[in-house]
Symmetry: C2
Subunit: 173 residues, 2 copies
């Protein structure tokens, strides 16, 4: 899809296509539509990120809370969005052994209890071995630093999803 | 459900329950969770509304763009949220005749083209005869005034949905 096509979309089409660039936050795509026309992928991305950066901390934490756990209850319940399922599957998180899954569930629960939002990681860029290691490391971070780190992951995920949509096919991992 | 129950929820439960108080904006419920504990329905409502009021205009328009048309394509496609379907059905909008549906589709299209967001109305409070009349009237309003009017309807819808959830059953129309 080229940028002219994007710029020609009414808000209904735009939200249908870009509504999950930020996981379960169509509000953000719907707000970004106000900034059209866009000059290209980077410009589009810039507006998504600016919206996130301008939110109060509770809103930024809200974005994180719209994300699923990695290899967590949403995956088990079949309730992941198509994008999340593809990413978790691509990272090997849908085929963990019982011990790995349990270890991750424990770390996820500790993380949620400590920070009040789920552990978010651009899993496509890492792979399954890195996930528990990175989770255990970030569990030790101070909360304000961890909020910034988690939002940086949200942006990495959004960048990959935007690139997929503009390329018209999934980007390489 | 009493307020103690609400205050005992982790963010996953809270977003599951309150995620659609503002249509297709779980981000807002997820942000409001940061403000717990809540003293009651009015306090909870106050935090939802404060979040909306603090957004920049593009974000407020974004909220509106997450709403479906009344008797529009989402209804025809079976893509309404459970709450919207119940409200549109309760207002008689799911059983319009062909001429009424066409008239409304034309007005909705004019409204979307003029304001860049869909016509939002707390339909439960009005009923089917009022919808095209109100739509035709609001089509004539200046855009800044109309944005305020539309957000006031979002809040009416949110208030009714919150009351339903805290009462544990649908509120009377």
């Amino acid at each position: 899809m080229d940028i002219e096509k994007v710029n020609s979309m009414d808000f209904g089409e735009f939200v249908d296509v870009f509504g999950n660039v930020i996981e379960r936050c169509p509000l953000i795509a719907a707000a970004v539509w106000s900034q059209r026309p866009f000059s290209g992928l980077e410009d589009l991305e810039k507006h998504f990120f600016a919206f996130i950066d301008a939110l109060p901390p509770s809103g930024q934490e809200g974005i994180l809370r719209c994300h699923p756990d990695l290899a967590g209850r949403e995956l088990l319940r079949g309730a992941l969005t198509a994008e999340s399922l593809r990413e978790q599957s691509g990272a090997g998180l849908t085929s963990l052994g019982a011990a790995e899954r349990l270890r991750l569930a424990e770390l996820n629960a500790q993380y949620r209890a400590r920070f009040g939002f789920p552990f978010v990681l651009a899993a496509r860029l890492r792979g399954r071995e890195a996930v528990p290691r990175e989770l255990a490391r970030r569990l030790q971070c101070p909360p304000a630093q961890e909020l910034r780190a988690a939002l940086a992951e949200v942006k990495k995920i959004g960048r990959l999803r935007l690139a997929d949509l503009l390329a018209g096919h999934p980007a390489p991992r």
